[in-house]
């Protein structure tokens, strides 16, 4: 590997990735109301479990890079098919995140603007970052992480200083029994918000000393979940379970209520701008994963990856042109079909299958190092 990311950068990148899922947590708030924090705690455990399982793919192939590990486990032909499926899956996630962001921006920041131009400018910025190396992404995630921590602390400080906390808003706990939270808990584990982590394996290959750092995933998921769950709880305490279920994102809802000395207000507008950068990081990680897979399928050289990146981004752009007629349709599709079935297959079923096969092929010879692609983003 030419590129190296150090441990702390990977940790911060993963935290930023998970926090980018903040926008859509409100999906469950309507049904669960004040119990919406319980599935989050369970989802964290499921997510940690899944990620440690993912890492077995590396452990069993002696910590090779991603492409070679997959080829070793699955063989060249099957891995190509799997790659194609994952590329479509990643592009779909990017599409959903982009339309979420676009909705929020059009509603709050720039009412009445044409969404085509928004998409164009966002994808342009993403393409610019995509043309740089992975180290740039890692360093950017360090800065973004600092910002997230600062904003989080500021939120807590401001909300405790002004508003009245009704701690008993969280009661009654589990009024309707355990059944309603089972499905959301599992979904939160492998999908929004603590899931969609399969692509982090692609970034993991750049970590130096992979053998010693297998716990980094656990720590980062725990940190990110701490932040997200605290924001949810603050929402429940301050805003109340009924008013909370309007609109989608808890963090923005909370930021709208805050003000600095009753003077500077509507901080959620600034938060939307900052969140957009966080979502950019997530989108770039996904695009990088897709680009590595495309490169492996078509055996591209370095210079040609620029064109393949352009094509991937163009596909997403064309999809946003034609498929975003109605936002509620997209949301319903995502909640009822995509997360339930496709997420389950791609994040749980296939990776588990790969892990099991990797155990079976553990002792066998690893792919010839001459096949190593030189990786630079």
């Amino acid at each position: 590997m030419k590129e190296k990311i150090c441990l702390k950068q990977f940790f911060k990148l993963m935290v930023v990735y998970i926090i980018a899922n903040d926008t859509v947590r409100g999906i469950y708030a309507h049904d669960l109301k004040q119990d919406v924090w319980i599935p989050q705690l369970i989802g964290v455990l499921i997510s940690v479990l899944l990620f440690t399982l993912y890492l077995f793919i590396y452990k069993n192939t002696k910590f090779n890079d991603f492409d070679n590990s997959m080829k070793h486990v699955l063989g060249k032909f099957v891995s190509k098919i799997i790659y194609v499926l994952y590329i479509i899956y990643f592009l779909a996630i990017i599409f959903f995140n982009l339309t979420d962001m676009q909705e929020i921006i059009i509603l709050h920041l720039l009412p009445g603007y044409s969404d085509i131009m928004l998409n164009l400018i966002m994808l342009g910025a993403i393409l610019y970052l995509l043309s740089k190396k992975v180290e740039v992404l890692a360093r950017l995630s360090e800065l973004v992480f600092l910002g997230i921590i600062a904003i989080f602390i500021a939120m807590i400080v401001f909300s405790t200083s002004i508003h009245v906390f009704n701690f008993n808003n969280v009661l009654p706990i589990l009024n309707k029994g355990y059944l309603p939270i089972v499905r959301p808990a599992i979904e939160m584990g492998y999908s929004v918000p603590f899931g969609e982590l399969f692509v982090m394996l692609v970034i993991f290959q750049h970590l130096d000393n992979k053998e010693k750092h297998t716990k980094v995933g656990t720590y980062s998921i725990l940190t990110a979940s701490f932040i997200l769950t605290t924001v949810t709880l603050l929402n429940i305490f301050i805003i109340g379970p009924y008013a909370m279920s309007y609109g989608l994102s808890p963090a923005f809802r909370l930021a709208r209520m805050l003000d600095i000395e009753e003077y500077l207000q509507r901080l959620d507008l600034l938060l939307i701008g900052y969140h957009m950068i966080v979502v950019f990081v997530k989108i770039i990680v996904l695009l990088y994963g897709a680009s590595i897979m495309v490169r492996s399928i078509f055996k591209l050289k370095e210079k040609q990856t620029k064109y393949s990146n352009l094509i991937l981004v163009a596909i997403v752009f064309v999809a946003t042109l034609f498929l975003t007629k109605r936002y509620t349709d997209i949301l319903v599709f995502r909640r009822d079909f995509f997360i339930k079935y496709i997420g389950l297959i791609m994040e749980v079923f296939f990776p588990l299958l790969i892990v099991i096969i990797s155990f079976a092929r553990k002792g066998k010879k690893i792919v010839n190092p001459n096949d190593l692609l030189e990786f630079e983003i």
Binding site: L107, H108, Y113, S114, M117, L120, I121, G124, N168, L171, P172, N175, I239, G240, P241, Y242, A243, Y246, G247, R256, M257, D259, E262, Q265, R266
Partner: protein, 386 residues
């Protein structure tokens, strides 16, 4: 290849600049500072908007009216807003919305239908209060020009805040609380009311600000109690103070009690900590209210505040008796006059005894009439002769 890229870049940027001129400048917007709803003759909503007159904002303002009242009608709140925009030259901008006023008649018919717009509304800054009017219409209230400041809504909000923080008989209710109470099947909504006395017609003109005698007196008045979004009755000032004590909302309150020698002693009550506990034993519910607060003895008409134990105990006992009586009178009024749970104890039942509440939700009002409520007032004299 590079030239092609640069060309595409320039093309894209040029396309992007099309939006340059289409946004409206800040001085072409119309600021709405308060919205009120009156009863309309037709079947629908009648909205009154209080609009800030932009000409008053220049550094050297002429003597013109600072606000303008515009009314419109429609079927939903958004409909009214759109119809409002037809009357105005520019786009309305609700950044400074500070207050939503419902007139008494509208409140009696129910305010549920109006609330959804305000919950999810994205232009306004920070929270706006919901109030109702008493004895006057919303239009009259909003067209009163105040001598204290250029913007009448600010004056109203400040009066409300003062009444809440310093005297304890009013309440500032924000939209989230209203929605929480209306949409859930527990809790009771109460809203403060504002009324105005005096010559209301004269109060609408700017000449009022040129005289020393305040022509129209706007004051914060009783608290209105709601059920299912409909106004059911009023609580007087003393009753409001008691109500706020129960719900731990008092910042400061004043109470006068009798002394031993026929004098009157005035006290400042503050640092209120109330706790409501509900209990269900053998399917019999009961409510325990513990009210603790600190007392600062402020004024004694006999000119002497004695720093002695007997004096202290006397004052404490008098306060305890008076407040307990007020609260018990209020409870009696709730049971016999209102005939439903005006205190919102159902919220506590829902949270702490959910099973019992689920089973008995429908009969709750009946049960309330005979439910024992135990009140325990614990004053604590903090300082004397303040």
């Amino acid at each position: 290849m590079k030239k092609f890229k640069i060309f595409i870049l320039i093309l894209v940027s040029a396309l992007g600049l099309y939006g340059c001129g289409s946004k409206q400048d800040i001085n072409e917007l119309i600021f709405i500072s308060a919205i009120g709803f009156d009863k309309s003759e037709n079947d629908g909503f009648k909205m009154i908007a209080q609009i800030v007159n932009n000409n008053v904002l220049v550094p050297d303002p002429p003597q013109i009216t600072p606000v303008v009242i515009v009314t419109s009608e429609g079927e939903t709140v958004l409909d009214c807003l759109v119809n409002l925009n037809n009357l105005l030259p520019n786009r309305t901008y609700m950044i400074n919305l500070q207050m939503v006023v419902f007139s008494e008649e509208v409140a009696k018919e129910g305010i549920n239908e109006y609330m959804h717009f305000f919950v999810n509304f994205s232009e306004a800054q920070h929270e706006y209060n919901v109030v109702i009017t008493k004895d006057i219409s919303a239009e009259d209230l909003m067209s009163q020009i105040s001598v204290f400041s250029m913007f009448p809504t600010r004056v109203l909000i400040n009066k409300l805040k003062t009444a809440t923080d310093y005297y304890g008989f009013a309440r500032m209710t924000f939209v989230e609380e209203v929605v929480n109470t209306l949409r859930s099947d527990y809790g009771t909504l109460v809203l403060s009311s504002i009324t105005a006395k005096g010559d209301l017609e004269k109060g609408k003109s700017i000449d009022q600000t040129k005289e020393t005698d305040v022509v129209s007196k706007i004051e914060i008045s009783d608290i209105g109690v709601f059920k299912d979004g409909k106004l059911k009755g009023w609580l007087s000032k003393d009753e409001s103070v008691a109500y706020n004590f129960i719900h731990n909302k008092i910042e400061r309150a004043y109470m006068t009690v009798d002394g031993t020698k026929g004098n009157k002693i005035s006290n400042l009550l503050r640092m209120n900590k109330s706790k409501i506990t509900v209990e269900v034993k053998n399917n019999q519910p009961s409510v325990y209210i513990d009210i603790k607060f600190n007392v600062l003895v402020t004024e004694d008409t006999s000119l002497v505040i004695e720093i002695e134990k007997a004096y202290e105990e006397h004052v404490e006992r008098m306060i305890k008796e008076k407040l307990t009586k007020q609260i018990e009178d209020l409870i009696v009024k709730g049971k016999s006059y209102f005939e439903y749970d005006i205190f919102g104890f159902s919220e506590y039942f829902y949270k702490y005894e959910p099973k019992w509440y689920e089973a008995n939700k429908l009969f709750y009002d009946e049960i309330f009439k005979t439910m024992p409520i135990y009140v325990n007032v614990i004053p604590n004299i903090e300082r004397m002769d303040v």
